[in-house]
């Protein structure tokens, strides 16, 4: 056992660090550092930069264009990406539907879909949740009926993140309703968002932003060839994907980066008679979260190592999701404490690219603190609420 990196790993870190500092598109770095929200084209541009480096399919097998990296390399990459304040990789294609297609899809589906996912030519979104289905995903009602050589889909999907940008959606749909267990009779299907009968309705979240959507399907015809794997086995495929999603939601390095920034902020900014960094209570709280994060970092590494040795991420990924989102929210709360009264102004418009920085209310982007805090209350709700994660651990890990 060693906690230090080998010479090769140090060289890899240098390579990644240099690429992020020298080659990441300039306008994206500027937007990120000024707190300007990214648009669709920014995400695409960033991912195309990753693709050009051969780094888009971080977890993908080499035969499908993946990196073939070791666990340690993935760890280094994630850390460097966070330290470069790089944007999030939009996970729906690269992290979710891609792995399902290369694991369960047909040869034709692999050839048709995987290259465009890797190259970020196609934006995917996720059609899982439904109004009313919530954490009880198996209660989904959206129906796909096989008529000749195509399925006809009717129903509504909701909480669809960035669905307004999507070219394609992957859905869990009910293909049989007369089943013994509700988890049976569910299929995994790929749908072109341009298909007639699809409408996208925005849902505004409590922070005032448009990120999620409700998507209606009215007699939407989908070629039967877009069904992934076997009809009725979608739950199994979807579950594999959910476990990947849960691993991904830990966001350890991003949270570490935010804590690092918070430490800098409270050391520099004098609010009250002294910098907040001289407030021992506050610094102890930061330190406590840092300890928990370090633990989670190693829990995630252990999980990734198990995956690398051939195991699929199991129910333990629920622990990553649980703890990861708790710590994200803990950092949000610390940032709120640091912001004081400047958590109050609601001025999202001042983070537009052409807004003069000198005229902004508050220091840096501190007035975004509460918007982030409000928005990320979702973290303990999405991807299976944290209550559901605890049920999963209780049942499948502890055998209760």
């Amino acid at each position: 056992m060693h906690v230090t990196f080998t010479d090769e790993e140090v060289a890899f870190r240098e390579e990644v660090r240099t690429a992020f500092s020298d080659e990441m598109p300039r306008e994206i770095r500027d937007k990120q550092s000024q707190g300007v929200p990214l648009e669709r084209q920014d995400y695409v541009k960033f991912q195309k930069f990753l693709h050009a480096k051969g780094w888009a399919g971080i977890n993908w097998p080499v035969e499908y264009g993946g990196t073939g990296w070791t666990t340690v390399q993935k760890y280094i990459f994630a850390e460097e990406m966070a330290n470069a304040n790089a944007p999030d990789i939009i996970t729906f294609g690269l992290g979710m539907v891609g792995p399902v297609i290369y694991t369960f899809g047909s040869e034709e589906q692999k050839q048709r879909f995987l290259p465009d996912i890797l190259a970020s030519n196609v934006w995917w979104c996720q059609g899982y949740s439904e109004p009313g289905s919530g954490s009880d995903l198996a209660s989904l009602k959206t129906k796909a009926e096989l008529v000749g050589d195509h399925y006809v889909i009717n129903g509504t999907k909701t909480w669809t993140t960035l669905g307004q940008h999507a070219d394609w959606i992957f859905c869990l749909v009910r293909t049989e309703s007369d089943v013994a267990r509700r988890q049976e009779g569910i299929s995994f299907i790929l749908v072109d968002m341009k298909s007639p009968g699809i409408t996208v309705k925005p849902i505004i979240t409590l922070d005032g932003s448009h990120e999620i959507n409700e998507i209606h399907f009215e007699n939407v015809e989908v070629p039967a060839g877009n069904l992934v794997g076997e009809q009725g086995k979608g739950w199994t495929y979807g579950k594999v994907l959910l476990q990947h999603e849960r691993t991904g939601t830990a966001r350890v390095h991003a949270t570490e980066y935010r804590l690092k920034k918070l430490r800098e902020q409270v050391a520099e900014s004098v609010r009250g008679a002294r910098p907040l960094a001289e407030d021992r209570n506050f610094m102890r709280k930061i330190a406590a979260v840092e300890v928990e994060l370090k633990a989670l970092e190693f829990t995630e590494l252990r999980t990734l190592a198990a995956v690398a040795s051939g195991k699929a991420p199991g129910p333990e990924s629920s622990i990553l999701k649980l703890k990861g989102t708790e710590l994200q929210q803990a950092v949000d709360e610390l940032c709120m404490e640091a912001a004081g009264y400047y958590a109050l102004p609601y001025v999202p418009e001042q983070y537009a690219v052409d807004f003069p920085v000198a005229e902004r209310v508050g220091e840096g982007s501190e007035t975004k603190t509460s918007l982030r805090y409000f928005n990320y209350r979702k973290a303990s709700i999405y991807g299976g609420s944290n209550e559901i994660q605890k049920n999963i651990v209780a049942k499948h890990v502890l055998g209760l």
């Binding site: 849902i203 008679a273 009264y341 209350r377 709700i381 609420s385 209550e387």
Partner: protein, 374 residues
Amino acid sequence: MDFSLNDVQSMLADTVEKFVINDYDFDTRQKYAASDRGYSADVWNTFAELGWTAVPFSEADGGFDGGPIEMMIMMQHFGRGLVVEPYLANIVLAGGVLRREASDAQKERWLQPLIGGELQAALAFIEPQSRYDNANIATAAVADGDDWILNGTKGVVLNGGNADLLIVPARTAGGQTDSDGITLFAVAGDTQGITRNAYPTVDGHQAAEITFTDVRVTGDSVLGEVGAGYQTLSAVVDEGTLAVCAEAVGIMKILTDKTVEYAKSRVQFGVPIASFQALQHRMVDMLTACEQSYSLLLWAAMANADATAEARKAISAIKYQVGTSGKKVGQEAVQLHGGMGVTWELDVAHYFKRLTAICQMFGNADWHLDKLAE
């Protein structure tokens, strides 16, 4: 020790409660919050007609001699209704200073129209660097003959964009964090040299950053004694703190009610989620938090009404309690509402945001705990 309300207090409680239930539903509130001024001028006139804008002022000033108990009653209901009309900024904060320090002439000019509902006011006590230290005032006032020249910046001035009157604590002597040497000025909002950057706040209220550049005011703008404004400022901020704590308790109670109601109707895995023991316990914790907070609120209001030796301590106690329990109740209400809880459409999110804003104001939980630990 007596927990009962007198007849006048009961009547006040009834009328405010009825107003919120009958005339202030959530959609109406949202419409007012989204309007240009951020509140309804008609509703404000109604407040004046009903005498609510006169409650804390003396009978000699045309008020009702109300105190902490009356404020607690009103603010709890304002919390339940998520009322956006600037009662805190006008009546509790600006009114609190005028009530204590204004001369007869100043009352005639500022306090009478304030009580009449014709004038909007703000107390500009926060500065960008001050955090929760109200003595940390860099805005300077320098005497020039009989006049004073003001220079400096005030931040997050509640109701600052709409205010016709700005009450400005400025430094006339001493160092930046000294409590001595602070003077309170009554400054007309349209005085030359004032620039305002007004904006909505995350809780649907309004505030502004206000810059004073060589703002010349006459000698009769000084409220009270030169250099001796801190004590009044402090007392008024305490009253504001108590008022928002009462509002927070009203919000915590309604959030708990709404969460219980939702859990009973929301079906998952074939049963209402209220049947899950793990969630039942959490709702019990929410209720306990409400009850504990309400108890401290009553103590604080009574201790301040009776001006006991523990009056100041009780304010830090309730603000600490609201800062911790209020945060918990707000977060749990959102969490138990699931995806719906994070939508703009649902009132729960807006109660949560107001509660959060209250936690950020007048000293957060840690700040008040520090006071209690001193």
